[in-house]
Amino acid sequence: MADIVATNETILVVGGGISGMTAAIEAAECGKQVILVEKTPAVGGRVSQLYKYFPKLCHPTCGLEINLRRLKANRNIRLLTMTEVASVSGETGNYQVTLKTAPRFVNENCTACGECGKAVEAEFDDEFNYGLKKRKGAWLVSNMAYPQRYVLDPRIIGTPDADKAKAACKYDAIDLDDSEQETTITVGAIIWATGWKPFDANKIQPYGYDRYRNVITSVEFERMMDPRGPTGGRILRPSDGKEAKNVAFIQCAGSRDRNYLKHCSRICCMASLKQTTYLREQFGDEGKSTVYYIDIRAIDRIDDFYQKVQADENVTFIKSKVASITQDKDENPVLNGVNTEGYQRYANTHDLVVLAIGMEPSTAGSDFPIDVAVNEHGFIEQDESNGSIFAAGCSSDALDVNRAVQSGTASALRAIQVINRVASTEG
């Protein structure tokens, strides 16, 4: 990585999800030099794992496609995948950042032909599908992965599988001697866009995510709709593979709860409303959704979407935070609670339960890798003591895609201001 050119007029963007990509592209299109680092082998982040976005219900491939084209076309951006920030030191306008790049074992000769994937036998949980499916030890993260380059799982290195992959490659793209690289660069501003992770549903004891197979999370449900996902694009019960036509959505699963996440995760109401349309899309009038909620938080423009879903007679709304889930002998989840509108007690049986899981910063639960002001929820505060380190997207708050993009652009503008100041003082 000796070829990385960076000065204190360079902007470092950490995280290649929708916010980081936006920030990097916007800054680069303003003529600034940008280094974009991404921990996983491909950019796109959690947006690439969605089936559709709300409220327009278009596929993320579309929105990402535009960003990828801008990214590919721009010579001011240097993208480093499989790279993490190890340490940051320095001050406003002048930071020394140490980057660590994990070995991919596949060089730029790769054409993504897939022969190595066929040759390798070892299989591992597919991170892209939240472990709902297996992937090979040599794999492409997703069909629209950028860069379109395979990766070798470090766990197959030193096994016969690694040699099989190398033998299968016609382009001399496999480099089994690849190793971790460390490099220190100087940058003028840092945009931190490491995004979010779904709250650990196992912690919500009364909902039995850890015990009941037919209780899943909203992000897993999203993967079910992908034609290349774990169920081939069909809504199926994990317990018996039958079609799940009667689905319950539980709102605030982990959010707005002082036992779990105190904050409102903002996206979950809309995510569930969106997911009710998946049932209609797949099963027509036979697809029944029931949304259990405290209150639906669909604000400003997206309220129209809420009204549309409310008008759908296949969608029932029950104003109640579900108290507990049990299951009957056929592994059907039974939801127990009290409906606040009338105080009736219910025990409702469904085919499948989707927990509208809360959003927590991806850095939660570990020491924050950089020295910045973080609020009680783990999101980065906009604070003068942060110098020229700016948060973008879900590093700053629980945001939907639309707002994450706005936040990315805003952070790019803040970083550009710093770079311009640095440039003018240096003449």
Binding site: K321, S324, V338, T340, Y343
Partner: protein, 207 residues
């Protein structure tokens, strides 16, 4: 009083304020967001006239009589399921007992509610010697609903009692006096002082 002031008065929720002032942990009542998890989680919930969620709403709706005369909060068995699950960490169990205590103090508690009766018997039993006399407490419970039923219950429980006696889990001599703390008059003084403090609190808020 003008019509406007009268209208405002009808909206003034003095009962919520009364609860906040006099009931243990009462100032948490306003924090309830009516999600229903407490009512849904209560193992005895279906048997309550008004489960906690409803009690909180009734308090806020100013339904003083309906709440204080209710048998509901006497149904609480202190299993703490509601506290463990409440997304806003309301000390629901404590509030229920606080409401029951306040209703009792005002003489509004339902006289024949069995939990209330038991609570009073337990308190009398405990405060006599500073130790619970299980034999006396048990026997007094047998006869809680009359002499004939008491005899019947006692006969039914006799084999158990005999077994407990044989394994030295039950001492019949406890019925005559029984054991207690060393300084009974000291205990009484403590309780008297505690009651004074409690009453003083109550008077202050009345004013």
């Amino acid at each position: 009083m003008s019509a406007n002031v009268q209208a405002i008065e009808s909206y003034r929720n003095s009962f919520l304020k009364e609860v906040e002032a006099n009931v243990e942990e009462g100032d948490w009542v306003k924090m309830c967001m009516q999600c229903g998890v407490c009512s849904g989680s209560c193992p005895l919930g279906p048997y309550w006239e008004h489960p906690p969620q409803e009690i909180f709403m009734l308090i806020r709706a100013g339904k003083r009589e309906e709440v204080l005369k209710s048998s509901s909060m006497w149904m609480c068995t202190s299993c703490y399921n509601c506290i463990a699950r409440c997304p806003r960490e309301l000390p629901i169990t404590h509030i229920m007992h606080g409401l029951a205590t306040y209703a009792e103090r005002l003489g509004m508690a339902p006289k024949n509610q069995p939990t209330r009766k038991f609570a009073l018997k337990f308190w009398d039993n405990l405060t006599k010697k500073g130790r619970v006399n299980e034999l006396k407490l048990g026997v007094s419970l047998y006869f809680m609903n009359g002499f004939v039923e008491g005899i019947k219950t006692a006969l039914k429980a006799m084999p158990l009692g005999m077994n407990m006696y044989k394994t030295k889990r039950l001492n019949p001599m406890e019925y005559f006096g029984g054991h207690g703390v060393k300084d009974t008059s000291g205990l009484k003084a403590i309780l008297k002082k505690a009651e004074e403090i409690e009453l003083a609190k109550l008077k202050k808020t009345d004013a």
